[in-house]
């Protein structure tokens, strides 16, 4: 088994439609292939219909990526700006420690490059 104990999990909660673009950017610019995303709904505190229950709910995409620990801070910053989280309602990002992770790499497929 090829497992690493030196990894971090970066999680992003993004507005609908941003995760796929982020995944493609990470592949093209950082050669990272271990990103996955799933869908959910999010609610914020300052919603204008807050008085009618928990407030307005919007579709969200939750993007998760395992990265080597030594690259985690740089990628955290890269993703923050790349995914537009420096704007209001741009989502949020956080890092958690991972006790153990497997390595994930794709085989070279010659016909794909042609």
């Amino acid at each position: 088994m090829n497992a690493s104990a030196n990894a971090k999990l970066i999680t992003c909660i993004l507005p609908k439609g941003r995760a796929l673009a982020l995944q493609r950017t990470l592949l093209a610019e950082q050669q990272l292939v271990a990103g996955n995303f799933h869908f959910g709904r999010g609610v914020g505190r300052d919603s204008h219909i807050r008085d009618r229950g928990i407030g307005e709910q919007q579709e969200r995409e939750i993007f998760e990526l395992i990265v080597p620990a030594q690259k985690a801070d740089d990628l955290f910053e890269f993703i923050f700006f790349e995914a537009g989280m420096d704007e209001p309602h741009g989502g949020m990002i956080f890092i958690t420690d991972v006790k153990m992770s497997t390595e994930f790499s794709l085989p070279d497929v010659t016909w794909e490059a042609e």
Partner: protein, 137 residues
Amino acid sequence: MQREFTVLTDVSLITCVVQRGKAEGVVQAAQDAGAQGATIHYGQGSGVRERLGLLGLAVDVEKEIITILCGDDQLDQVFEKMFVAAELDLPGAGIMYVTQLDKAATFVPKDIIERIHQRDFQGRGGVGIDIAGDDGK
């Protein structure tokens, strides 16, 4: 161009798994206790339902998974309110746990950053902040 962003420290992630349809009540309780927002997604679970036989029909196999980012200073209060709202003391009702985050970041308006700096100056606890940046390459 120099870009800056605010890194939040002393933040934890609460994850709560409940039966489908119960999430809104739990999120409401968390917000009442001071949580800012929540994200909910769906899943399927197993557990006590499989051990209850016919009575297991009362436990919904479909789950809602709530994730809430919370400052460590509010964590105990939010956790407790969510526990009560989700009725997690009942068998099969769900499970909740807290993960410590290394750091988090989101858009934080300048007036809020100033308020946090004032709070730190006065020596009161809460979410820690740190201004990070890059050279925009």
